[in-house]
Subunit: 102 residues, 2 copies
């Protein structure tokens, strides 16, 4: 594999909205869909698509339920999700270090 | 604009192959197409598409010429390209700092 730090990046994780979802999800036990939508300023449709990509890749788990009478969706990062995010962060760190040394 | 660091990322710059092209181009006066292709392990077609996106956005300049009898293509990062890359790096740094503090 190429030595360049960007070669270690995985599009599933690296895409900026998905990177936002994973980093927020890594900061809590679970995160509510509405919170993600407003924090990342995404449409519900766009956020749902990104969550599905992450869920299909096994990086997130999606839970549907109710808060009182209101339907709610929560996402939780999986162990595989934490590992994938750690690889992304390591690659970004290497990219920044290389860029700062140029 | 959302406070989350990923909201400051620009897809034109953030896409991993384009990020690779810009960071390598920022390390030299100009960079030869073949070097980019092998370093980033891209096909010529894929690399050309990414270079066109960056050129259309005014972040790269493309120069065609000859080395001896061999046709050559070089890319040079523009001032706008350096600014865009600096914004990307600042956002990635903020993302890493936030992630490390969680």
């Amino acid at each position: 594999m190429s030595e360049h730090p960007t070669a270690a990046l995985d599009d599933v994780v690296h895409q900026r909205h998905r990177l936002g979802v994973l980093t927020i999800a890594s900061e809590a036990k679970r995160v509510e869909f509405g919170y993600l939508r407003t924090t990342l300023e995404l449409t519900a449709g766009n956020l749902s698509r990104h969550i599905s990509v992450l869920e299909d890749a096994g990086l997130l788990e999606v839970e549907k339920g109710y808060e009182g009478k209101r339907p709610r969706t929560w996402v939780t990062i999986t162990a595989a999700g934490r590992k994938a995010l750690a690889r992304e962060m390591d690659a970004l760190r290497a990219l920044l270090e290389r860029h700062d040394e140029r």
